[in-house]
């Protein structure tokens, strides 16, 4: 072989390039974008507030003071109080401890199960494919809340079960999304090329198929988080899952719903604003992650 000109060859070591794949974290850092930053910021503030505000505020989140029931917002109670005399300000800040934890765990678990089954289903069209799709059909055919109540009443009314409920209802959503992407991606020529290069099936799945199939699932994650908080609220209203006096946005909103017509708007409004901003933040975050992952295909 003709050796390349000496000068150029010496340049090789300083040939600055990632030794291995440019990792997810690196790409993320390079591709930081406004939605991602804003989403992360809001979630961070909510999470931080959940621990800081109750620690320094004069009222406890779970201590009712019936003598101060139904007070409008004031300096003493910036967000007012509800009918039992709970200080809404501290409760609204305290709520993410339950809300975010359960939703992140529940949707996260659901996404994990859905992605794993989705890849398996997309890969083996026959058995796994049919089986998991029928299962998904069955799960999704039930109205969500009824399903959740049934599960919790079967498994007992604990928060762990609420996590499983969320996982259970979300898994089919992710399964479908991932499976349909995998079905497209597996037919792409670069997958065949990866096989021709000698990739093992595991590597093929993790390095080639999965990264190219995750896009819709990442976006769905944010959407599902939003829905998850709403589901949690719905469940709490029905007396399932979170119990009084644990502060939780959904139950606070629903608990104050009846008072809006009589003029005590603050009971529902403040938890409502916080819930909406959490939902919004998760959507921003997932949108941002997807934007960062995107390498401008085509």
């Amino acid at each position: 072989m003709n050796p390349p000109p000496a000068g150029r060859h010496e340049a090789a070591p300083e040939f600055v390039l990632p030794r291995h794949s440019e990792g997810f974290a690196k790409r993320l850092r390079r591709n930081l974008n406004p939605p991602l930053l804003w989403g992360a910021f809001i979630i961070f503030v909510l999470a931080l507030g959940a621990y800081v505000v109750p620690a320094i505020w004069q009222f406890g989140a779970e201590i009712a003071n019936p003598r101060e029931a139904l007070l409008p917002p004031s300096v003493r109670h910036p967000f007012g109080t509800d009918r039992s005399g709970f200080d809404i300000f501290v409760r609204v800040f305290h709520a993410p401890r339950i809300d975010l934890t359960i939703v992140v765990l529940g949707v996260g678990l659901g996404a994990l199960i859905g992605i794993v089954l989705g890849v398996a289903a997309g890969f083996s069209r026959r058995f796994m494919g049919e089986f998991s799709m029928r299962l998904a059909d069955i799960v999704q055919a039930f109205p969500l809340l009824i399903l959740a109540i049934a599960l919790v009443s079967l498994g007992g009314n604990s928060l762990t079960n609420v996590v499983f409920v969320l996982a259970f209802v979300n898994a089919p959503v992710f399964l479908r999304l991932v499976r349909s992407r995998v079905l497209t991606v597996r037919e792409q020529r670069y997958i065949q090329a990866a096989v021709a290069l000698g990739n093992s099936t595991t590597r093929l799945v993790f390095r080639h198929v999965l990264p190219n199939s995750l896009g819709p699932a990442v976006v769905q994650f944010g959407v599902s988080m939003g829905y998850g908080i709403l589901t949690l609220a719905g469940l709490a209203y029905l007396g399932v899952g979170v119990q009084v006096p644990t502060p939780e946005w959904g139950s606070m909103i629903l608990g104050g719903a009846g008072y809006i017509t009589t003029g005590q708007w603050w009971i529902s409004i403040f938890p409502g604003i916080f819930l909406a901003s959490a939902v919004f933040a998760f959507n921003l975050l997932s949108e941002g992650i997807e934007q960062a992952r995107e390498v401008h295909l085509r």
Partner: protein, 344 residues
């Protein structure tokens, strides 16, 4: 193998060199069609051999199964029936794991330069991947090897951090070539490897391939529509039409003295780069179906020389001159050449 056909390809070398690197025998592959009983016959009874250190060209009608044959050779598409051996190993019934470990020795450049690159891998990662999979090169050694490969295909190292969609067609194609060469394979299948390269780069790439072949005794299968490229690098050429091998023989002879009417069409349709040489008026007309098999010769739908006998059975490859076979009833060893109208 004892196939007399190989003999010609290597008549100018010692008999020792006659060992076969790629052997394909009775390869059949059909794809089911949606909503239909009839299947697409992508390859039917295809057979050929390529000796070590040689190049077989494959030309033929678009959709005639060239890429399918290429993929079958490397076990990327399961065959319906037939036997395929590469470097003395049977591909058709190899366990997946064994097949994977052989892949460093047999590589392919796919026809679609953009689609065969993972959109999330930049140039450097794409070229480094086979090295990471099959060699112990890491760090600086890896970087040096990747650099060397990019240089071989005349790609500027500045492009190493680009993603496939940030490259021009020809640059993508060269990434594919560099990637296929990375592990120094002994068998290389090239499916239209130079189609989107300008002629001067194309010449450079072909020259590189020839040099590697000479130095390392590589074996190539070159699929191309460009007869000029075929002429320049292949000792032998096979012609495919609708899934069948219709002619095979030494390149210069097949291209200057074709025995099958389709080959003749193909050559006649070539465009001269000299504006003063008008192209021969030969445009193939007539209906063909990839799904229907009438039982007769595959070319009956378009053949100007068709006779009733042609509809009876598919003619087998018959030796016209030593080492030069064609599948046409008009081929009756040696004498048939004179019957070819327009051959003069």
């Amino acid at each position: 193998m004892s196939d007399p056909r190989n003999h010609d390809a290597s008549q100018d070398t010692a008999a020792v060199d006659n060992a076969v690197a790629i052997a394909v025998e009775g390869l059949n592959k059909t794809f089911p069609t949606r909503r239909g009983v009839l299947d697409v016959v992508a390859a039917e009874d295809v057979g050929f051999t390529v000796p070590y250190g040689r190049t077989l060209g494959i030309v033929g009608e678009s959709g005639s199964g060239k890429s399918t044959v290429a993929r079958c050779i490397l076990g990327l598409t399961p065959v319906d029936s037939g036997r395929i051996e590469v470097l003395g190993r049977s591909i058709t019934d190899a366990p997946a794991k064994a097949l994977r470990s052989w892949r460093s020795e047999m590589q392919i450049v796919f026809q679609e330069p953009y689609e065969s690159l993972n959109p999330r891998y930049h140039v450097w990662e794409a070229v480094a991947e086979p090295l990471l999979l099959h060699t112990d090169l890491r760090g600086t050694d890896l970087a040096r090897r990747v650099h060397e490969l990019l240089e071989q295909v005349a790609l500027s190292p500045d492009l190493a951090g680009r993603y496939p969609h940030e490259l021009s067609g020809g640059q993508q194609q060269r990434v594919n070539i560099a990637r296929a060469l990375a592990t120094s394979p002994r068998v290389l299948i090239l499916d239209e490897p130079t189609a989107s390269l300008d002629v001067s780069v194309q010449e450079g790439v072909l020259r590189l391939l020839l040099r590697l072949q000479r130095e390392l005794n590589l074996t190539y299968v070159l699929i191309s529509h460009d007869l000029k490229a075929i002429r320049a690098v292949c000792e032998r050429v096979a012609v495919m039409y609708l899934g069948r091998l219709v002619e095979i023989g030494p390149t210069d002879e097949v291209l200057s003295n074709p025995k099958h009417p389709y080959t003749e069409f193909l050559i006649g349709a070539e465009l001269s780069v000299d504006p003063d040489v008008a192209p021969a008026a030969s445009v193939v007309r007539g209906e063909v179906s990839t799904t229907e098999r009438t039982g007769g010769c595959v070319f009956t739908g378009r053949c100007p020389l068709v006779t009733s006998a042609c509809h009876k059975a598919q003619p087998a490859l018959t030796e016209a001159t030593p080492g030069h076979d064609a599948a046409c009833i008009l081929v009756k060893s040696e004498s048939s050449a004179s019957r070819r109208p327009g051959a003069d």
